[in-house]
């Protein structure tokens, strides 16, 4: 097997590379050549193509995030310890406690393989929370499917729910809420958005960076296999032979199988490592695997990094450097550790039976250098991979049919007037999929584990006690109505924000921060970009009005079937704090006879 090295790339500048198959545009490829002053190696090409994808680089959405930063006031900043750009936002909630939380999408994988897609979605967001130095406390899931009676919904929904439950239950994280919405626009694009919230002491906040020359890079958790490298396998086709000898790896399924047990042990292992104070920086391995972890750690640090790729424990034979860098194997983390603490680090991993390998070190200088058995296969400025990818200002245009859509209001619909008809309508509505009981879903989720759950279904917000001495706690709700958002993306996003805010408030907690998951169609469609831009502005303006910041979130584009996009779906999660969870307000009326019912607002 011959490996494409930097030396090789220098001597074969004109070798053709399958950059288009890897999703890079001509000008993006040209820019990589310009950055490197030569053609990229296979491994470099794999890294750039993944890190410059929409999913990892936020290239279409980044420019719009300024609405969030521009609307920040001092009041909003006051409690924010980490914001957009970190693995997850962190807010100070008093008494020395900080809370970190984030919502993330795993939409497409959940359509391909509902159980594993949803399961690994939960696994991924939980690792984001651990990477902040926090103990994960609870999860929530916000789900959208095609029509309830559509045949594919019968395939997707049970698998997704079983996957969310199967993974979350096994991790021991209570599920404290979520949503289930049906609309035909999601038929080919179900939305699986998972939220995780964690707690830490303010002084224990760990940000992902690799600092201090001589510090070691340790990869720990599961072995690295051929998971999810479907795209990158094209590299194996023309440069070197795969292990089946035919010169080409057979097409691999872009599906990862989750191993919640390994993740549970990884959580406990990380918490013990944090407690011993022997972690300088830490990063989870998400969608972009080692490409992401190494370049982001190096990019955010103060030096360079050298990674010895042959030291990565593998699950498959004959993996190439490009494949190892792109593997999406789950349940892995990467830590930066001072040399004197490596033994202690390894001892904690051994206690939990977690495989750990020292795969490199922080170096003087500014390059990320990756070698494979002494040959250099990657030599790049890490910022160009992780943080300085392409940025697009996509065309924006209000759809021509927006006015017609708005004009087509409910006025023309028949309204029941007779009592019997009204009753019938109410019963029909109560039984409709979007309003019916969610018990079939929530009953598959453990809401009790770890004994801190104060509110969960059927409450408007979930609530967790975080301190058994003081009874301090937090509340969370997620909401979104895609139909409102389609009619008016600006107001619809604000309505989602307002609803989540209200749901937290009525539980007795004070809202303090927002995380969002913006699910939209193709950013290359100006009408979708208009929805997106309007929604972001709506959220940013709404947050300013309410005085609570957006601390993080996720953008999921390309949720469309053919040229038809899903309903614009900016899911909003609001976090609140309550000083004494015993003063919570459960949902529901009628606990005592003679209660007075008041309607507030109009």
């Amino acid at each position: 097997m011959s490996i494409d090295t930097v030396k090789n790339a220098e001597t074969t500048p004109d070798q053709e590379q399958p950059f288009r198959e890897l999703g890079l545009k001509d000008d993006e490829y040209a820019r990589i050549r310009e950055i490197l002053g030569r053609r990229p190696t296979d491994a470099e090409l794999a890294m750039y193509s993944i890190m410059w994808s929409e999913h990892c680089s936020y290239k279409s959405s980044k420019v719009h995030f300024r609405h969030f930063s521009e609307s920040l006031t001092d009041e909003m900043r006051a409690k924010m310890l980490a914001g957009i750009g970190e693995n997850a936002g962190v807010v100070d909630i008093g008494d020395g406690w900080a809370i970190t939380f984030k919502v993330e999408s795993h939409n497409h994988p959940s359509y391909v393989e509902p159980y594993q897609g949803a399961a690994t979605g939960v696994g991924g967001i939980v690792r984001d929370i651990i990477a902040m130095g926090a103990r994960p406390l609870a999860v929530m899931d916000s789900l959208r499917f095609g029509k309830a009676d559509a045949p594919d919904t019968r395939r997707v929904l049970p698998g997704v729910v079983a996957g969310v439950g199967g993974y979350g239950n096994c991790l021991g994280l209570p599920n404290i809420g979520g949503e289930v919405v049906f609309d035909e626009s999601y038929a080919g694009n179900p939305l699986v958005n998972a939220l995780c919230v964690g707690v830490l002491r303010v002084e224990d906040l760990h940000l992902a960076h690799a600092s201090g020359a001589g510090n070691k890079i340790i990869l720990f958790g599961a072995r690295t296999g051929l998971d999810g490298i479907g795209g990158v396998s094209v590299l194996a086709s023309d440069t070197f032979a795969g292990d089946d000898g035919s010169g080409k790896r057979k097409k691999l399924p872009a599906v990862q199988v989750g191993d919640p047990f390994t993740e549970k042990v990884l959580i406990e292992c990380c918490l013990e490592l944090f407690q011993q104070g022997i972690v300088v920086g830490i990063q989870d391995l998400g969608g972009a695997g080692l490409s992401c972890a190494t370049s982001e750690l190096a990019s955010a640090g103060d030096g360079g990094m050298h990674v010895y790729l042959e030291r990565v424990p593998l699950r498959a034979t004959g993996m190439t450097p490009a494949e190892i860098l792109s593997s999406e194997s789950q349940e892995r983390m990467c830590a930066v550790v001072a040399p004197e603490n490596v033994d202690a680090f390894m001892a904690v991993c051994a206690k939990w039976d977690v495989i750990a390998s020292e795969i490199g070190e922080v170096t003087e200088g500014e390059r990320l250098v990756i070698t494979w058995n002494d040959e250099v296969v990657v030599d790049v400025p890490p910022r160009t991979v992780a943080h300085e990818g392409p940025v697009y200002n996509r065309p924006i245009e209000r759809p021509a049919d927006q006015d017609a859509l708005i004009a087509n209001g409910p006025e023309s619909l028949a309204r029941p007037t007779a009592a019997a008809d009204i009753l019938k309508t109410i019963v029909t509505m109560a039984a409709s999929p979007n309003l019916a009981s969610r018990r079939w879903v929530t009953q598959q989720y453990d809401r009790y584990v770890r004994g801190g759950t104060v509110l969960a279904q059927p409450s408007d917000a979930g609530m967790i006690r975080i301190d058994e001495e003081t009874n301090r706690g937090i509340a969370l709700a997620t909401d979104c109505n895609g139909r409102f958002t389609k009619l008016d993306p600006y107001a619809g996003a604000q309505l989602a924000l307002a609803e989540a805010y209200r749901n937290v408030s009525v539980s007795g907690a004070t809202p303090i921060a927002v995380s969002d998951c913006l699910n939209f169609g193709s950013p290359e469609d100006p009408a979708v970009m208009w929805q997106f831009e309007q929604a972001i502005r709506g959220i940013a303006d709404g947050c300013r009005e309410l005085g609570i910041p957006v601390t993080g979130g996720n953008v999921s584009f390309y949720n469309q079937t053919g040229s038809t996009a899903i309903l614009p779906t900016p899911v909003i999660g609001v976090l609140g704090v309550i000083d004494d969870v015993r003063r919570r307000i459960p949902t529901g009326i009628g606990a005592e006879a003679g209660e007075t019912l008041l309607l507030l607002g109009d």
């Binding site: 599961a222 296999g225 691999l252 199988v257 191993d259 194997s329």
Partner: protein, 79 residues
Amino acid sequence: MARVVVDVMPKPEILDPQGQAVANALPRLGFEGITSVRQGKHFELEVDDSVDDAALEKIAETFLANPVIEDWVVRRVGA
């Protein structure tokens, strides 16, 4: 009536956490020399003679196995 066995296994390149857990446990229990374990499902069906191989293949593919992550083998066994 015929007896049909369908074995469903995780594809070789797909992670098999269960098989791995079993493999890891064996040495701790004092069983040496087992170098790899994969765990799958084993179905035993009683089928009318009217059910042909194509139908069995279809049942395995669309229902008993998940072709995205699993391989399967259908066998008729002596009655």
